[in-house]
């Protein structure tokens, strides 16, 4: 509401419409075929990674890749909210943490089955998303960003204060989860393929959602909420549903994260983590699911790479972010899109 108005005020710039068009294009039509093909190729390449790692004698590659895929699942879920729903949610890491703590807390109380843990994780994150989303979505713009951030921080402090489960320091898991009583996840390889399977399912599922009736309403609302009301859709219910779906999926990613690291900590839900998830989604190009996966891969590899140069690698990341926003018109995704468009297709 006020966003559009005050922007126009800035020296009466009418250029507002042009970036809008550019943004529509970059976020907009998710023409499926190319993106789906890219995703299938990416997933196939990932499935071939373990034998390759074995071949080149670097088994740690499998562990790294598992971790990257877990964040790719979290980024996918955030993309539904941020990319398709245009809600700048700055508390998404909370769901990741809720999922991870579901594993740790259930395990400490004697429930090690991953199916039960996942169910609890989904319920906990969905409930948290429902309550905080219902309050946050009553507001817009700057308010929404601040409130999601604050709720994320609330979840963070909740875990910090749970001294029985490690408090500030977090806690190491006694063992990984079991599946129907079997310790199959103790193998990094099994965990890798389980994560890959969840990633593939998440991709296929979200893709269906985006092209469904529900997804069409969500994408329409992103472009023009007033128009959607004028044809009879109340955006709130659809946005809240998307928020809950995304929260639940991020909770599942948290279950995998706890198993991969064999450790949980409030740091999983810190607001920096939420910020990093946003960066992943934007890096890959918002509103393309394969982009979210690519963004997660790119971000985590970049992080590793920068960390090799200096302990102050975050400085480099910060400079990169600021420069990308300032020097690529229409933001990071716009810049990357132009980069790709220049390449022959």
């Amino acid at each position: 509401m006020s966003a559009g108005e005050s922007k126009i005020a800035l020296g009466g710039k009418t250029a507002r419409t042009t970036p809008d068009l550019a943004r529509d294009r970059r976020r907009g039509i998710v023409d499926g075929r190319g993106a789906a093909l890219a995703a299938v190729l990416l997933l196939l390449a990932l499935s071939l990674l373990p034998p390759i790692a074995l071949l080149i004698g670097d088994p740690f590659l499998v562990v790294t890749a598992t971790r990257i895929m877990i964040f790719a699942i979290a980024a996918l879920s955030l993309d539904l909210v941020l990319g398709y729903g245009a809600m700048v949610s700055f508390g998404h890491a909370a769901f990741l943490g809720l999922g991870a703590y579901s594993v740790a807390i259930l395990l400490a109380n004697g429930t090690s089955d991953i199916l039960i843990q996942t169910l609890v994780a989904i319920l906990a994150s969905a409930l948290f998303a429902l309550v905080t989303g219902a309050i946050s979505l009553r507001t817009k713009g700057v308010y929404f960003i601040m409130i999601t951030l604050a709720f994320g921080q609330m979840a963070y402090f909740f875990m910090v204060s749970l001294s029985a489960y490690g408090g500030d320091d977090g806690m190491t898991l006694a063992a990984r989860s079991t599946l129907l009583g079997l310790p199959v996840l103790n193998s990094d390889l099994t965990l890798f393929y389980l994560t890959l399977g969840v990633l593939a399912l998440a991709f296929v599922g979200l893709r269906a959602v985006i092209f469904s009736r529900f997804g069409r309403v969500l994408r329409g609302t992103r472009q023009n909420p007033v128009r959607m009301q004028a044809i009879g859709f109340q955006p709130f219910a659809y946005q809240l549903t998307a928020y809950v779906i995304a929260g639940a999926l991020a909770g599942v990613a948290g279950v995998l994260l706890a198993n991969q690291a064999e450790f949980v900590s409030p740091a999983y839900m810190s607001w920096q983590r939420s910020g990093e998830l946003i960066v992943m989604v934007v890096l890959g190009g918002m509103g393309t699911l394969v982009g979210a996966i690519g963004g997660a891969i790119a971000f985590l590899l970049l992080e590793d790479w920068l960390a090799k140069f200096s302990e102050h690698w975050k400085l480099g990341l910060g400079v990169l972010l600021v420069c990308l926003v300032l020097f690529t018109r229409g933001g990071i995704a716009g810049g990357i899109e132009r980069l790709f468009r220049r390449a022959p297709s």
Binding site: L21, D24, R25, R27, G28, I29, A208, V209, F211, S212, R213, F214, G215, R216, V217, R219, G220, Q223, N224, V226, R227, M228, Q229, A230, I231, G232, F233, Q234, Y238, T241
Partner: protein
């Protein structure tokens, strides 16, 4: 005269001390094309916001098809058959023309909380959307991206979307805004055809179009309706000439 489809009585809205619409009352009969004209700043846009439900009224009542709708939201009013178009084109630019209309059909075709089946493949919805597009002669553009249409075509799409909601009464907010001579000729003939099937409330600046199309005309000046009647009577109304048409000739 039959029972009015839309009945507005003593409607009022002020921003601070300024009454933007002040004691506005009029009826629209089923099948009528009722035009509302007035100089800039007369409160026409505020009035259409109040009628469509995007702005709450301070006092007064609006009833539609016999039911009081004064306190209903825009969404509820659309669902009852009272749809609007926008003065500033408000379409989903990244979607295809067909999808723009299909969403409006989808809104009244069962729940949209369906998550897995592809919406673009729902034939009944697409058929109804195509029918709405055909009414505004846009069916040959159905698979174009809405943002790539010409301005006149976008204005046609505005109307098609309102039609696709299944509304009985369309509130058209300056459908000719920004159009050239040829484009407005197309739109005027479209509205003439729409009159056969729909009740229309038309807010418009283009006097030629208004007097060519309207069954009745209301004149809004400084928030008040100073005259309502058939075009000929309104055209010759003394106050109207002074307040409005006088300004036109002077301009």
């Amino acid at each position: 005269m039959s029972e009015p489809l839309l009945s507005v009585s003593h409607l009022r809205k002020s921003f601070g001390a300024l009454a933007v619409t002040d004691d506005v009352s009029f009826n629209v009969a089923p099948g009528e094309l009722h035009a509302i004209i007035g100089p800039n700043g007369a409160g026409k846009t505020t009035l259409i916001h109040q009628l469509s439900g995007s702005l709450a009224s301070d006092s007064g009542a609006i009833s539609f098809a016999g039911d009081e709708v004064t306190r209903l939201s825009m969404v509820d009013r659309v669902r009852r058959g009272l749809a609007r178009s926008f003065q500033i084109t408000s379409i989903l630019e990244a979607f295809t023309v067909l999808e723009n209309a299909a969403l409006a059909v989808q809104a009244r075709s069962g729940s949209s909380f369906r998550f897995f089946r592809s919406a673009a493949r729902e034939a009944p919805i697409n058929d109804a959307a195509m029918a709405a597009l055909a009414r505004v002669k846009l069916d040959d553009r159905a698979h174009r991206r809405a943002g790539s249409l010409s301005h006149g075509e976008k204005r046609q799409l505005e109307i098609a979307i309102a039609l696709a909601t299944g509304a009985r009464l369309l509130l058209l907010d300056e459908p000719l805004a920004g159009t050239g001579r040829e484009e407005s000729a197309v739109l005027v003939s479209l509205m003439r055809e729409l009159k056969e099937t729909h009740t229309l409330v038309l807010i418009e600046h283009d006097m030629d179009a208004v007097f060519a199309l309207a069954d009745r005309v209301s004149v809004l000046v400084y928030g008040q309706l100073i005259a309502t009647g058939v075009p000929e009577v309104v055209r010759n109304h003394r106050d109207v000439r002074a307040a409005y048409l006088g300004e036109e000739t002077a301009a």
